[in-house]
Assembly symmetry: C2
Homo-oligomer: 254 residues x 2
DNA sequence: GCTTGACCTTGACGTTGCGTAAAGGTGTAA
DNA sequence: TTACACCTTTACGCAACGTCAAGGTCAAGC
C-alpha cells in the first residue's frame, strides 16, 4: 500500500506539516518521490512512523527518537516492551493524579484536609521515575495483575495506605503459597495460612465474604489459564494447590 | 506557611524559571515581595498553582488557564470534577495505546497481523474526544465501574470488538433489570431474562461459570453499597431484585 | 566583620515542534 | 478547460520554557 502525504497524515492522525518536518530533519523520509516531487510513503514508513509516535507519546524529543531508531543495534521488540513499561508508568502517574484530584475534591467538600506536599502528588515525574526504578523489574510481565489491582484500589476508593496493604497481602499470599506448596500438604498448617491470607485479601475487594464465593473463586483460578498462570508463579500447580487448600479451609471439600 | 521561589518549585516539582515565567505572564503572582525583592508565596498561591498544573497536565495552554481561573464565575469544585473526567479520558487513551503496543508486540512475534489503520489506534486524540462527547455524561459518577471494565478488558486481552460487546451486554443487563423491576416479579419472565443476561455478562470475565459464584456475586451486589448503588440506577432496590432473580434463576433460592 | 556558598533578582537570547501563510505547480473529474 | 483538491518549497511566528549572564542577598562559620 502506498500513501501520499495526506493519506498517511490522516491514517496516523498527524498533520502534513509534521510529516514534512520529519522529512526535513531526517527523521522520516518518504520511500520515494514521484515525477512531480510528491512524497510517496510505503509500508516500511508506516511502521517507522508508528514507532516514532510511540516514542513521541512518551515525551521523547525527536532528536533522541532519530538516534534510537537509526541505531544499527536497535532492537525493535525490546523497544516495544520498553514502550509498554513506560506507558504503564504513565498510567500509574495518571492514577496518582486521579487520586490527587479526588482527594482535592473531598478536601473541598470539607471531608478531609490536604497537606501542601500532598497537593502535588502525581505531578512529579521524578517520583514516577523513582517508582519505576523501584518496581520496574517486578512489574515486568505482570501487567494484567497490576492493572487490575490498581483499578480495584480505585473502585474501592482505597486510600493509598490501604492499597499498599492490599499489595503487601497479595505478595504474602504468593510467598506463603510457595512455601506451602513446597511442603506439599494442602491440609497442612502452611496451606491453611495461605488460604486464610487469601480470604483476608479477598475481603479487601469483596466485603461480603462467603465460603461459596471463596471456593468458587478458587475453582476459577484453576479453570482459567490466565489466573492459573498467575499462581503458577508461586509453584508448579499453584492454582490447584490453592484451590485444594481453600476447599479444605472452607470445609467445602466433601 | 510561606515559601520562597525554590521551596515552592521543589514542592510542586517545577523549575524556578517556570514560576518566574508564570509571574511574568500574570498567571501566578507571588503573595508579596520581601524587602530584597524576593518572591514570597503563601497558601493561596500553592492552591492556585495546583489548579494551574492540573490544567497544564491536560494540555491546556497557559493563556486559557489564566482566563479560566481568573474568571469571577470560576467554579472550583466543578472544575475539579471536569479535571477528573479529563484524566479518565486520558486514561482510556492510554489504555488504547497499551492495547496497541501489545498488539504490535504479538504481531512482531508473528502471532497475528495488524492492519495499517490499527497501527495508529490510541494516537488519535480526536477519536478519544469523540468518545468523550459520546459517553461523557454517562461516565460521570461511575468511574469505578468503568475502570474495572477497562482493566478487565485488558486482563482478558479482549479485542476491542469483544469489549464493545461486553459494554453492550452490561447496558442490556441494566435496561432489562429496569423493566423487570417495574414488572415487579423476580420469578417472572423479564427477571429471568435479566438473570440470564447477567450470566452471559459474567461469562465474559469469569469463564468458569458456577451457580454458586453467580449467586454469591448477586449477594455481594446487595451487601456492598458501591455495587448496590450501581444497580440502584436501574430501579429502586435494583440490587436486591437482581439477587432474587438470580437466586431463582440458579435454583439456589430454597 | 568577613568570607563563602547557596540563594535570589532581572534581562536576553536560544530551542523545540510544529502552525500558518505565501506563491506556485499537479491530477482528475465534469 | 475549468474547477478544485491536492502537492511543493520558503519563511516567519509561537508557546513555554532552558540557559547563560551579571549582579544583589542571607545565614553560617571563622
Amino acid at each position: 500500500m502506498e500513501y501520499t502525504i495526506q493519506k498517511l497524515a490522516k491514517l496516523a492522525g498527524v498533520s502534513t506539516r509534521t510529516l514534512r518536518y520529519y522529512d526535513e530533519i531526517g527523521l522520516l523520509a518518504p520511500a520515494r518521490k514521484n515525477s512531480a516531487g510528491y512524497r510517496i510513503y510505503g509500508r516500511e514508513e508506516v511502521d517507522k512512523l508508528q514507532q516514532i509516535l510511540f516514542y513521541r507519546e512518551l515525551g521523547m524529543d525527536l532528536d533522541s527518537i532519530r538516534k534510537i531508531i537509526s541505531d544499527p543495534s536497535f532492537d525493535g521488540p525490546a523497544a516495544l516492551r520498553m514502550h509498554r513499561e513506560k506507558l504503564l508508568a504513565r498510567r500509574r502517574q495518571l492514577d496518582l493524579l486521579i487520586i490527587n484530584v479526588e482527594s482535592t475534591i473531598s478536601a473541598a467538600e470539607g471531608k478531609s484536609t490536604m497537606a501542601d506536599n500532598e497537593k502535588f502528588k502525581g505531578f512529579k515525574q521524578k517520583l514516577v521515575d523513582d517508582n519505576e526504578r523501584q518496581y520496574g523489574e517486578e512489574i515486568r510481565g505482570k501487567y494484567g495483575d497490576d492493572a487490575v489491582d490498581k483499578s480495584n484500589a480505585k473502585m474501592l476508593n482505597m486510600s493509598e495506605e490501604k492499597y499498599e496493604e492490599f499489595r503487601r497481602l497479595e505478595q504474602e499470599v504468593l510467598s506463603t503459597l510457595a512455601e506451602a506448596c513446597k511442603a506439599g500438604d494442602p491440609a497442612g498448617e502452611l496451606a491453611r495460612k495461605a488460604a486464610a491470607l487469601h480470604k483476608e485479601w479477598l475481603n479487601f475487594t469483596w466485603p461480603s465474604y462467603s465460603k461459596e464465593v471463596h471456593a468458587g473463586l478458587a475453582q476459577m483460578y484453576v479453570d482459567d489459564e490466565r489466573f492459573a498462570a498467575y499462581y503458577e508463579k508461586a509453584c508448579e500447580g499453584g492454582a490447584k494447590f490453592l484451590r485444594d487448600a481453600i476447599l479444605i479451609y472452607t470445609g467445602l471439600d466433601q
